[in-house]
Symmetry: C2
Subunit: 127 residues, 2 copies
DNA sequence: ATAATTGCAAACAATTTGCATTCAG
DNA sequence: CTGAATGCAAATTGTTTGCAATTAT
């Protein structure tokens, strides 16, 4: 594996953007180097993911969201407004324990999006 | 809204299949009525969803998974083998409470897929 | 030279849109 | 007749593939 400029660009983009779709990464990279092709973005993301450097999450419909592997958190995606909130993965520790004990399922808490309604979009406060 | 044959077919398909992608629903419907177009499947699913009759979940990459609204459960999707397990939504009650209290986030527990490794694909048992 | 990497165009899959046709009230 | 619903073809979006050109060793 060679650390080509293109690959560094993708990494740099992820450092700056924190998380982004392939398309967004591409646009970001192309601001400084317009010749970089989106195919290369995809291939680089695949490579970096296989190396464990980046990871991706599906936030619902549409393109997946890539981020540095270090950047671990759970996403709360609002059905209504699409806003994405982040929650430290420790919040899911209990759930992870339950799933492991009862289902033998090793939850990957950071490759995860939870959907629902955010505070702003919740119809009424009843408590 | 008229209860057309096509719409009934989609509903019937979901009753039988429990959950399926638009493509799978289309194939199922076309077995008995080959003239039904996949566009109609999409439009019907959208309509039924807006009526609250069906719902969909994203199980990762690829097409979303539709099911009857009644058919509520949480999906555990295994990264490795792709196997999908189902968990009653009550299992997430505690998490839902935490998210609501701390983030004002109303979790939609049945529109949800959790990813990780299933029992069969978990490298070792350490407890 | 040779093996890896890239860009480009074309293929693909999933979904949506425009529009003309059909159908029920 | 009139609006709703459908089918079909074409457009769109996100992604992958084939292949030739480029690059680092």
């Amino acid at each position: 594996m060679r650390m080509t400029p293109q690959r560094q660009f993708v990494l740099d983009a992820l450092v700056d953007l924190e998380h982004a779709t392939p398309e967004q990464i591409c646009q970001y990279v192309q601001r400084s180097t317009p010749t970089v092709n989106i195919t290369t973005i995809y291939r680089t993301l695949e490579l970096l993911e296989s190396l464990g450097v980046v990871r991706h999450t599906h936030l619902g419909h549409g393109a997946p969201n890539y981020s540095l592997h270090e950047h671990q958190h759970v996403h709360l995606v609002c059905h209504k407004c699409g806003r994405v909130e982040e929650v430290p993965r420790e919040r899911l520790a209990e759930l992870a324990g339950t799933l492991r004990d009862e289902y033998g399922f090793a939850l990957d808490a950071s490759h995860l999006a939870l959907t629902g309604r955010c505070r702003q979009c919740t119809p009424a406060e009843s408590s």
